[in-house]
């Protein structure tokens, strides 16, 4: 019994409320982290917020003129990149989930003593700089390379060309490449939280499901997956959020038609030196992400997770 219940979700009612008895514990736990974020994140954020309503130029400097039109202008001009970012990030997140779940499941339930080894294989690619790895992808997916040739001869590329995710029988510099790159880059961000929540599920619940005539797939659908929801939610957030703001993959693996909002912000900030627009775009992005995430969390019934 002990082990089963230790894996059941926390009985909410037994969680202590800080209000009662004036327990200061949560505040002590929160204090350092919150202070840190206030100083090193919120303060700069306020500064960026003020930047977004400034006008001016590099030479004359920028003054706060409460020029909110920047937001509207930025949005109307760059909404395609916004939509594209969301679409790519969502696709990549879905792919990460589809690819990452079996691996997380494998590590959590089937790996036995190889668990740690598989875990480290998931995370170790980070130790090789992302740039080298992305360049390696370019080698792998190169137009004349074996992968593309194989895909072409299997007529896969005919299909993907028709779907518009690849062009001219190549993979690089197409949406497919960007989405694959995003998927690749953020896969560990999906696998780790998935693994940690799968690992907590008591195998006895699987047994109980099997005992009650659930085929393995049904057991998965009705028991494993619902119980891994915390991991699924955390994983999709850890994947989707950074992927939406990412620009590296679009930069290196995409062409001009695959640029994402991250690229725009980057370029506005560094190349065009239009700081207000860059800041405004950032805030629009953050707001959009926040809105989507909130809606998602509501929908998945996991408000408590966030």
């Amino acid at each position: 019994m002990a082990l089963v219940t230790d894996k059941t979700p926390a009985p909410r009612a037994t969680r202590r409320t800080a209000a009662r008895g004036g327990k200061p514990t949560p505040y002590w736990l929160l204090l350092p982290g919150i202070l840190w974020l206030l100083v090193f994140f919120a303060a700069p954020l306020v500064y960026q917020a003020s930047t977004s309503v400034q006008t001016g130029s590099l030479e004359e400097g920028f003054q706060v003129t409460w020029h909110f039109a920047t937001y509207w202008d930025a949005l109307t001009e760059y909404y395609p990149q916004f939509l594209r970012s969301v679409a790519y990030a969502a696709t990549a997140t879905a792919l990460c989930l589809a690819l990452g779940y079996p691996l997380a499941y494998l590590i959590a339930f089937k790996a036995g003593r190889w668990r740690n080894v598989l875990m480290i294989l998931v995370i170790a690619p980070f130790f090789t700089s992302f740039l080298i790895r992305t360049l390696a992808w370019k080698t792998i997916l190169s137009d004349g390379g074996p992968v593309v040739s194989a895909l072409a001869s299997l007529h896969v590329l005919d299909v993907t060309d028709a779907l518009g995710v690849t062009e001219g029988h190549r993979v690089l510099a197409t949406p497919l490449a960007v989405v694959c790159g995003l998927t690749y880059n953020f896969l560990p961000f999906m696998i780790l939280p998935l693994y940690t929540s799968l690992e907590r599920i008591d195998s006895r619940l699987h047994e109980a499901a099997g005992d009650l005539y659930a085929r393995p797939l049904t057991t998965f659908r009705k028991v494993t997956f619902p119980l891994s929801m915390p991991g699924v939610v955390a994983g999709t957030l850890l994947t989707f959020i950074p992927a939406t703001g990412d620009y590296i993959n679009a930069e290196l693996l995409g062409s001009t038609d695959q640029k994402m909002i991250g690229n725009v912000i980057q370029s506005q900030f560094l190349r065009v030196l239009d700081y207000p627009t860059a800041a405004a775009l950032s805030f629009i992005l953050m707001a959009a992400i926040l809105a989507m995430v909130t809606a998602y969390i509501r929908k998945s019934g996991t408000e408590d997770l966030v």
Binding site: A10, L103, K110, P125, S129
Partner: protein, 276 residues
């Protein structure tokens, strides 16, 4: 539960059944292959001997770069700097983030949702913007750019990842175990250290690993807050502009291999100890 060994029962089509039974294993391994495939290429090219500066085309096999991994000026210096920063950033972010995660997962308090939002935003903020605004902050504070500014920046952006990863784990933990600990005279701190922490360890480890990886691999935010300090990704990025030296592949491969070998060795030693 281990996969059942195949039994000589009358099977309609054995391969299909085998596939079905091992679907998870196969799919998982396929994903793993996808994850490490680029590293294979990196490894292969670490044995290349390019004629010019560019390590793109396979020329001929050579272990030159392996025998002299630090052969490129500043490479190993930047690597050690990156490792130091990654370690400290991981420690900092994990400590702060775990505390935050616990507070959020275990307690109800006022402003809980605002705190959640505050924790979420750094993940949603485009890197370049965060980088620039942090740089502005440091500038206004009159801090000299270097190790400490990089470290602070890294902790800041790793924090949210740790919180999210740890919280997922803590949420699904039975509070009765903590209650049992408290009942057995453990103070809240001891309860945390002796019970909560070990049980939440996989989540914390996941958060820490993410932090380490993120910190070790970060370029943009580091670049803005590094002053004239050069970290490994900055070095890689820089040299990529003019052609990466083979040594970078060597370092990348070696780091990968060291990580895997450490775990493997720990596994074997642990396994042996358990048996004896």
């Amino acid at each position: 539960m281990p996969a059942l060994p195949a039994r000589p029962a009358a099977l309609s089509s054995r391969p299909v059944r085998w596939l079905r039974r091992n679907f998870v294993v196969l799919a998982g391994l396929a994903t793993l292959a996808y994850l490490v495939l680029p590293n294979v290429i990196v490894t292969v090219f670490s044995f290349n001997k390019p004629n010019g500066r560019f390590n793109y085309e396979w020329q001929r096999f050579s272990t030159d770069a392996w025998t002299d991994p630090c052969g490129v000026a500043d490479l190993c210096g930047s690597l050690s700097l990156s490792l130091q920063i990654a370690v400290w950033a991981t420690v900092g972010a994990t400590v702060l983030g775990t505390a935050l995660a616990f507070a959020l997962a275990r307690y109800r308090f006022r402003a809980r949702s605002s705190v959640s939002t505050l924790i979420f935003l750094p993940m949603a903020m485009p890197e370049v913007v965060m980088a620039a605004s942090l740089a502005t902050l440091f500038l206004n504070m009159g801090v000299t750019f270097g190790f400490w500014t990089i470290l602070i920046a890294h902790i800041t952006f790793c924090l949210s990842f740790v919180v999210t990863a740890v919280k997922a784990r803590v949420m699904s933990m039975d509070p009765r175990l903590e209650q049992a600990a408290q009942d057995l005279y453990a103070t809240p701190l001891q309860t945390f250290l002796r019970v909560t922490l070990p049980i939440a360890a996989p989540g914390i480890a996941a958060g820490a690993l993410l932090s380490f990886a993120l910190s070790f691999d970060d370029f943009i935010i580091t670049n803005f807050n590094a002053g004239s300090t050069v970290t490994f990704p900055m070095f890689v990025w820089g040299s990529a502009q003019r052609g990466t030296p083979v040594q970078i592949n060597v370092i990348g491969t070696a780091m990968f291999a060291i990580a895997v070998l450490c775990v493997l060795a720990g596994q074997l030693i642990g396994g042996r100890r358990k048996r004896s």
